[in-house]
């Protein structure tokens, strides 16, 4: 599956999510490649370079893609890998649009704060324009509650559903990823949160959330057919 992780707002946790999902896929024995399509930041490349320096296994390859050949590069990679996970920069970029044209799924990490919700019209424009060219292979934007407060009174879940309802073409994922120090700790070690040893209660919750998301995204996949098939 070609999975796009992207949005038009920075700091939402896109690279963290892409790295964690990619590593989790590799731990499930899948041949996965991460694509850093954010030439401005290169956060995902740094994450994996750090992982390599720490000698963490399994190894997860990462490549960079940019510009108007991004879609062709992704298609070439999809021939050799089970999963291609693309991390785009936090703005409306040529890479984001290219990836939206050919991806099978688009995950938008979103903490439904006002500033982030205000980016939704632009996201919807990109999604609608991409779908206008995709014919029958319509793409859905999956909103993922990311870096959500652990406060039990947080209304983030309901807010996320309300956002999805207000913007047709988007759906809210069931999984919620809370803001936890486990992600920072794992990042320092080049690990996914699912790889942390002797996890604390909070780290176990972060681990379970990534596992749940992995199951939600990849568990239901049976086949991805061509639109012409």
């Amino acid at each position: 599956m070609q999975l796009l992780v992207g949005g038009v707002k920075g700091g939402t946790g896109k690279s963290t999510l892409a790295a964690n999902l990619g590593i989790e896929r590799a731990r499930h024995g899948k041949k996965v490649i991460l694509v850093d399509a954010d030439p401005d930041q290169e956060s995902l490349s740094d994450y994996i370079a750090n992982r390599d320096e720490h000698g963490a296994l399994p190894s997860v390859p990462v490549v960079q893609a940019k510009g108007s050949t991004t879609a062709k590069s992704l298609q070439a990679l999809a021939r050799d890998f089970d999963d291609v996970i693309v991390d785009c920069g936090g703005f409306d970029s040529i890479e984001l649009r290219q990836a939206a044209l050919i991806s099978h799924a688009w995950v938008v990490p979103l903490n439904p704060s006002q500033m982030q919700i205000w980016t939704m019209p632009k996201l919807k424009t990109v999604l609608d324009e991409a779908n206008a060219m995709r014919g029958n292979a319509q793409l859905t934007g999956w909103l993922l509650g990311m870096r959500i407060s652990t406060n039990p009174y947080s209304s983030a879940k309901d807010d996320l559903r309300a956002v999805a309802k207000a913007f047709p073409g988007f759906q809210a994922l069931r999984t919620i990823i809370h803001q936890r120090a486990a992600f920072e700790k794992a990042e320092k070690l080049g690990l996914a949160v699912t790889e942390l040893e002797k996890p604390s209660t909070s780290e176990r919750r972060a681990r379970d959330a990534i596992r749940e998301l992995h199951e939600e995204l990849f568990g239901s996949i049976t086949t991805v057919r061509s639109a012409n098939a």
């Binding site: 490349s45 940019k66 050949t69 970029s93 649009r97 044209l101 050919i102 069931r174």
Partner: protein, 203 residues
């Protein structure tokens, strides 16, 4: 405040909470990635231009379409998939913001022709940009009409032919100008003139 009565049944769950989402991934689309529509759609996104490198050619490591970073595995790609001439020269990318009125005029012209805004804009740029480059090569620096953009603007993204991109680069570098400013100032008067010719004076 009176003590609220005990409820003996559990509260009903919101429907969305129980509903299983249909998370089937999209099918693989059949898209011609080389089509002008796809190029135009892509170029409406921001393009990161690689920083200048020491040799001054403006082709940093990012200029290649895709580059391996991890020492673990460098995926093999066909050379034809990396040699996209569009990516090689950032001067061929041009994303400009026109005043709203000029944008509307351009749309109207394109609509009347059953063409596209980008195609008309590209056609309109050819003559004045080449002429301007000729003037600069002859040592002149003709003034360009100032354009007041206002708050509301209309975006056009172009992929210039290589020779036109070379002319643009020459003009911008010798003039010390900003690429988008030069293109906007050249394009707006041309749109005005063509609008009069093709829309207002049309029987």
């Amino acid at each position: 405040m009176p003590k609220p009565p005990l409820r003996l049944t559990r509260p009903a769950r919101p429907e969305a909470r129980n509903k299983q989402l249909d998370l089937r991934p999209a099918l693989s689309p059949e898209i011609d990635l080389n089509s002008p529509e796809v190029q135009a759609f892509s170029l409406r996104g921001r393009v990161i231009v690689p920083p200048l490198v020491e040799d001054g050619r403006g082709e940093g490591v990012l200029a290649s379409g895709i580059q391996a970073r991890s020492p673990v595995l460098a995926p093999r790609l066909e050379s034809s998939e990396r040699d996209d001439p569009v990516v090689d020269d950032p001067w061929r990318y041009a994303a400009i913001k026109l005043p709203a009125l000029s944008g509307r005029k351009l749309s109207e012209i394109a609509d009347r022709r059953c063409s596209k805004r980008t195609r008309v804009a590209l056609e309109l740029l050819q003559r004045p940009l080449r002429e301007l480059a000729r003037n600069h090569r002859a040592g002149e620096c003709p003034p360009l009409r100032r354009v007041s953009a206002g708050v509301s603007r209309s975006g056009v993204s172009l992929i210039l032919p290589q020779d036109l991109a070379d002319d643009l680069r020459y003009v911008v570098e010798t003039r010390g100008a900003v690429k988008a400013q030069v293109l906007t100032r050249l394009l707006v008067p041309e749109i005005d003139a063509l609008y009069i010719k093709e829309i207002l004076r049309r029987p």
